[in-house]
Symmetry: C2
Subunit: 397 residues, 2 copies
């Protein structure tokens, strides 16, 4: 048994806000601001260059990798941190393609987050040897995994619908067909239990600013299956992935560990804040988290459907097939989301018509769900979204 | 005429420290900690996801690019920010190679910062079409630029010796031979006047944690010559380089500007602190800065050589050929630098035997130079570096 959820007391959440957008940018963990101040004033300001040693900056990326590994069912030493998720996608894909030099097909799905597909396009253009990116519908992925496929690259939880791929089954199928498996865990890490070791996947990547509350632009991560850590060929072979970065050798010689997936000088400020943010996970049992998440999402669907027949569920109804978010399709979704935000219920909108609500059991409870559903009812049934001020598209994210 | 230098009052520098390592990690500008606190508590904490619009996070990378452009003799809109310098090297090199598809030679020099060479190796291995990385001695670069060369990729100011390449002459030679030019400005930006427009180089890259005082892990930048901004092919084609990131289109369609060189979600905390740090440059005349830098370095050489005959100058004696640092070769350089740091004179050591001292006229004056020279004299002539506590190599950076 883990600690009792929610743990609202560990976060600074604004008064009057029901935050259902932790799947886009998590809330502020208490302690993050103090940590940043300490890093800036004491470490950078006072210790200056010495802080790489005296304040533990050099060890920070690996320390964080080990903490993340613990949350992802992976052994210590198997996760490297830094850069952005897009960069980590590129690294995983480039390394994976080198492992199947005789094949030319990258398989993803058409619901994957666009940046993953864009990075694949960029890599294909860079290599320029006739690689093909195939993107069938998510439900057709299993049968599309054939012996032509070099790499299967999928996001486990769909960013729009929350639909969850079966990690174990798809990885097994990929391996049966001789393909390498890459999982993007952007909407999984901190949201659903992940067992990377059991999955047997070669690579996984993810970000830390969503359910892991690392803050805007928090560093990304990459997992490499331990048997491959000293074998994969890094495409982005930066000095901090070198076996001896400060020996200033003329030739690249990769670290004999997953650290070879590091690239340049680490973003110490963001990494430090992330380290502070991850403290909220101490004692959390991921099975408890999952149970709470399913309860919250099921309750939300029931309440919203009862109150708002015009909204169409765009997520799987079966909680077992869903991550920790619920989406509804609504023709006026953009304006409706603005109206909701104006009333303190913060979710987000994803083109073309998706109103998206994330449920984060660390700081959301059933009272929040009921309160949010009532406000959604007001906005939809009273058509409050018709107010002209909600019509202007001026947003991002 | 610009503001009077130095401007020590704009920085928090520890008591008793003479900091001659601003070429590795710049000191803390006042205001940086307050800015970070505001970003965390008010923007992230209170505005949450809305801060991408309400706090200007979306515009921040481009705003910063424009500020940096102003410091580099480049027009607004020509500089994109984010990621690390190693990543930006890869982007520039990959784009440059696409511009000369019929050539297979990348020319750098053997004094270039290792990570630049490592990234080139990684790209060569990824493309795997017989590219060759040539690294002659820096003084042999000019004649090595032949019609075989696709791309010339050099760091203007040598990280060990401070020796400065002639940007205009080398770029001209590269263009005469039909090659594309990439300049790494890691030790130039904020250290010497740079006129990217006049240089006519296609690409430049750099980091902001050295002379620009952006803090540990501050974001990097990339310059693309304006006529190429809408033509270059991004290898790292992430969603924030897309023309419409939030349209979530299936295919990558690059932004019609230098912003196509952006990749993933920006590191808002680091970018914000950098923006604060760049305020110290308001009113600084780069010609004044250069004159002060040359004065400080000349004085340092004179004082150290007079006091310490055992140290051998490893930088050009002619200030016109030198960046804003002075290096001395000394067999026991590692231990001697530890002894100096122990006495408040902070420089750094670079293998195999280089004691490196950076001079940053924003916060170093002639009194600092004399005081540092006296302490160096004590350490060297009294052989204080022989103390066993300085012999153990336990460092980084």
């Amino acid at each position: 048994m883990g600690v009792t959820l929610p743990r609202k007391e560990l976060f600074d959440i604004p008064e009057g806000v029901i935050y259902l957008d932790g799947n886009s940018l998590g809330v502020l963990p208490k302690g993050a601001a103090e940590r940043a101040t300490r890093v800036i004033r004491e470490e950078w300001g006072q210790q200056l260059i010495r802080a790489w040693n005296t304040a533990g900056w050099m060890a920070l990326p690996q320390d964080l990798g080990d903490t993340l590994a613990g949350l992802l069912g992976a052994p210590a030493g198997s996760v490297a941190t830094g850069d952005t998720l897009s960069i980590k996608v590129y690294q995983a894909l480039a390394a994976a393609l080198k492992m199947r030099p005789d094949r030319r097909v990258i398989l993803s799905d058409n619901g994957n987050f666009p940046s993953d597909l864009y990075m694949a396009e960029g890599l294909i253009g860079t290599i320029d040897k006739g690689y093909e990116l195939r993107t069938p519908a998510p439900e057709d992925v299993m049968e599309a995994i054939t012996e032509e496929v070099a790499v299967v690259m999928l996001t486990q939880v769909d960013y729009r619908s929350g639909r969850m791929h079966d990690m174990a089954a798809i990885t097994q199928r990929a391996h049966d067909m001789g393909a390498v498996m890459i999982w993007d865990l952007a909407h999984s890490a901190g949201a659903v239990p992940v067992d990377l070791t059991a999955s047997n996947a070669e690579f996984a990547v993810g970000c830390t600013y969503k359910y892991l509350n690392g803050g805007p632009g928090a560093p990304a991560f990459i997992y490499v299956r331990p048997d491959l850590a000293t074998k994969v060929q890094p495409a982005l072979s930066g000095w901090l992935g070198h076996d001896a970065p400060f020996a200033m050798e003329r030739n690249y010689r990769p670290a004999m560990s997953t650290e070879r997936m590091r690239v340049g000088t680490p973003a110490i400020l963001q990494l430090s804040v992330l380290q502070e943010a991850l403290k909220v996970w101490e004692g959390v049992d991921m099975a408890d988290l999952r149970a709470a998440s399913m309860r919250l999402c099921d309750l939300f669907i029931k309440e919203v459907e009862a109150r708002c027949p015009r909204l169409e569920l765009a997520s799987p109804r079966d909680a077992a097939l869903r991550g920790s978010q619920v989406s509804f399709g609504f023709e006026h979704g953009y304006a409706a989301m603005q109206a909701l935000i104006d009333r303190g219920v913060i979710g987000d909108f994803r083109a073309p018509n998706i109103m998206r609500f994330g449920f984060t059991p660390l700081y959301i409870d059933e009272g929040d769900v009921i309160a949010a559903a009532k406000i959604i009812e007001d906005v939809i049934t009273q058509e409050l979204w018709r107010d002209p001020k909600y019509q202007t598209v001026s947003r991002v994210t």
